[in-house]
């Protein structure tokens, strides 16, 4: 008999046993049954069609007011709204349309395309029509000049002559009967004398006519005064009859 004395240290035997056990069992986690990385893509279940909704609050506004658009989509990858462009899949936006608008939303997804609409009504005020031309209100030029006659003055004078009193009364009566008429009174001088002094004299003549009409009852707000001095002449002959024609306060419709 071989009496081999096993002289291996006992530790060594234990280590070897553990190593053997480890080799069999492994020191690592218990593996699952499947390695996910070896799996292929999931089998393509039929893709869900996208859905979308869009609302507006309020639905009717006055011009200049704002509207809040609110939209939701599902299963979509891109959403656009006509007039706004690409937007988030879900979102809100404040808009101020200038006239009634149909907001059209398009949602595209893998499953197809979805659309949604909302109509916003804008109440646009109608521009007021222009008032009827003043001519119609002020009467005709001819009737005016027939009833409101120019006033003539003596040389270097801005006092009304006695004969002017009757024409002032007739003019005031006509203006009272046509309350919408406004008058511009032009002051004129004959071409003798100096330009600057004649402008001041023309102003005094026109103002004298204005004062006479106001005293006869015409409201001052309807009368306007401009002096032309000797800068605008009615005739150019160098004789007294033409000079007299030029020394006047002229009444015209003030349009």
């Amino acid at each position: 008999m071989i009496a081999v004395q096993i002289k291996f240290p006992r530790a060594l035997v234990l280590v070897a046993t553990f190593v053997a056990l480890g080799a069999v069992t492994g020191c690592h986690k218990k593996a699952s049954g499947v390695n996910p990385s070896t799996l292929g893509p999931a089998p393509a279940a039929p893709a869900t069609a996208p859905t979308a909704t869009i609302t507006a609050d309020p639905l009717a506004i006055d011009l200049g007011q704002s509207v809040v658009l609110n939209w939701r989509s599902q299963n979509a990858t891109s959403v656009t709204i006509d007039g706004i462009g690409d937007v988030n899949l879900n979102g809100t936006q404040t808009v101020s349309p200038s006239n009634s608008t149909n907001f059209h939303l398009t949602a595209k997804g893998d499953g197809g395309t979805a659309e949604a609409n909302v109509r916003v009504t804008v109440r646009v005020p109608v521009a007021p029509t222009a008032p009827a031309p003043a001519v119609a209100d002020m009467g005709s030029e001819a009737a005016f000049h027939q009833n409101v006659k120019d006033i003539f003055f003596d040389y270097d004078s801005y006092d009304l002559r006695p004969d002017a009193a009757t024409s002032v009364a007739a003019a005031a009566a006509y203006l009272a009967a046509h309350p919408s008429i406004k008058v511009v009174i032009g002051g004129y001088c004959d071409d003798r004398g100096s330009a600057e002094y004649n402008l001041a004299l023309g102003e005094n003549r026109a103002n004298a006519a204005r004062t006479a009409l106001v005293s006869a009852g015409v409201p001052a707000s309807r009368l306007r005064v401009i002096s032309y001095g000797k800068e605008k002449q009615f005739c150019t002959e160098e004789d007294e009859s033409c000079w007299q024609q030029n020394r006047r306060a002229q009444f015209s419709l003030d349009r």
Binding site: G193, A200, L201, I226, E231
Partner: protein, 456 residues
């Protein structure tokens, strides 16, 4: 014996004495009615006899010839128009054109026929693109040290530069020889130009050259008045609400703001400090004289009588008085007052007086006056000058047609005015004369009116 027909000699003598007495009396009363006075140019001071030579050309080409001719004629005219010289006529000058002090024989000029007290000479040429002009003023009586002035001018070569150099040299000579009074050769006149149905404001040199438009408003613009520093021009212009005071800036070349008000606003006038403007305004219902600042703000009224008040002008020496035209008694008369509206004095005693201008030394008023105005009267409107202290006046224009709008020159020796020989407003032209009525000549053709001479 005793002849009864023969009157004793003593009676003859008496009759002759009486006749002589009446004659003397008549003469005296005629002179008394005239009551004339003398303005500076006719006060009897001897004018300086000055000889102005053609300048020697220092370069020879056609351009130099042309510009030198312009220079020579302008210099001669400026000195002849100054009113203080007795200018030697060209035909009496020695036949030499000295260009430098070394070339002149002064004695030649001081003897007959030139008999000059002062001699002006020099050289004029173009070097590169510039005019080079050397001018000398020599005292012909001082043979040892004759030089009074030596000036050199250097400007870009152009017709207008030649003219402006002549103006500047003339003003230097006048300043030196008149004892310090500023010459007018560089001054300007602003006036109304009739352009068809409109009237615009134009500018020209004091001798009528360089006529050019300033405004293009397309309406009737009147009464141009330049500011004392020549930067702004005030005038009255017809807008849709009547005549308003408008302001044009010569520095910016465009209209600038002047506060508008209602009514008819006319005839602006600058205070000599340039800070205030007086004008006629009817904003209160009657044309009165108002004073505002240069932008039209802070307006205050200084006259208050019924009747047209127009055409104010400040005393340019003191700035504390205003002369103006008022129709408060009927036909327009000339008045003066202090700028606060007090101390009103009436200056004219009748007729139709208008368009007053105050002399730079503060002593005289120039105005247009028709002393026989009235319906059917043969009225003639002429330029008069009145001495303020004594109210004596002289008549400067006679039988030349209607005259208006006199304006004093800055040296107080000249007056510019408007005149129409046939009385038609469209034929107005601008004339200039010495302040004693001599040397009248036209500056423009027909279609120019209301001249205003600059302050410097």
């Amino acid at each position: 014996m005793h002849s009864p027909q023969r009157k004793p000699p003593i009676r003859h003598a008496q009759r002759y004495c009486l006749g002589a007495f009446f004659l003397l009396f008549a003469c005296v009363s005629v002179f008394h009615a005239q009551d004339t006075f003398k303005t500076e140019t006719s006060s009897g001071v001897t004018n300086i006899r000055i000889a102005v030579a053609d300048f020697k050309p220092s370069s020879s080409d056609t351009q130099t010839d042309g510009f030198k001719r312009t220079f020579d004629t302008t210099l001669y005219a400026d000195l002849a128009n100054a009113g203080i010289f007795d200018i030697v006529s060209k035909s009496l000058l020695p036949q030499s054109t000295p260009g430098t002090p070394a070339e002149i024989n002064v004695q030649q000029w001081s003897v007959a026929p030139a008999s000059a007290a002062m001699v002006v000479f020099g050289s004029f040429g173009i070097q590169g693109s510039k005019i080079v002009c050397n001018g000398f003023l020599f005292d012909a009586k001082n043979l040892q040290y004759p030089q009074v002035l030596a000036k050199q001018y250097n400007e870009d070569a152009s017709e207008d530069s030649a003219r402006q150099i002549a103006h500047r040299f003339a003003d230097e000579i006048i300043f030196r020889l008149s004892g310090g009074s500023q010459g007018i050769a560089e001054s300007k006149i602003y006036y109304v130009k009739i352009t068809g149905a409109d009237k615009e404001i134009w500018q020209m040199d004091y001798d009528g050259a360089n006529q050019q438009p300033l405004t293009h408003l397309g309406t009737v613009s009147l009464s141009p008045r330049i500011s004392p520093d020549s930067t702004r021009l005030a005038f009255s212009s017809l807008g849709k609400d009547g005549f308003q005071i408008r302001m044009y800036s010569l520095v910016l070349g465009r209209m600038v703001n002047f506060q508008g008000v209602g009514g008819t606003n006319l005839s602006p006038a600058w205070a000599p400090n340039g800070k205030e403007i007086a004008y006629s305004s009817s904003r209160s219902g009657d044309p009165e004289i108002w004073i505002s600042d240069a932008n039209g703000a802070l307006a205050r009224r200084i006259t208050s009588f019924r009747g047209p008040d127009v055409s104010p002008v400040y005393n340019p020496r003191t700035g504390s008085q205003i002369a103006w035209i008022s129709g408060r008694t009927g036909l327009p008369q000339l008045y003066i007052m202090d700028t606060d509206g007090s101390a009103i004095q009436r200056m004219t005693d009748g007729g139709y007086a208008t368009s007053v201008s105050w002399s730079p030394n503060g002593q005289f008023l120039a105005f247009a006056w028709d002393r026989k105005y009235g319906p059917g009267a043969p009225g003639g409107q002429d330029i008069y000058v009145m001495e303020i202290a004594t109210k004596r006046w002289i008549q400067l224009t006679h039988d030349g047609g209607r005259c208006d709008f006199p304006s004093w020159s800055p040296d107080g020796r000249h007056i510019v005015y408007a005149n129409t020989a046939d009385g038609k407003a469209g034929h107005m032209k601008i004339m200039t004369m010495l302040a004693d009525g001599t040397q009248k000549r036209a500056l423009t053709g027909p279609g120019a009116d209301m001249p205003n001479w600059s302050w410097k």
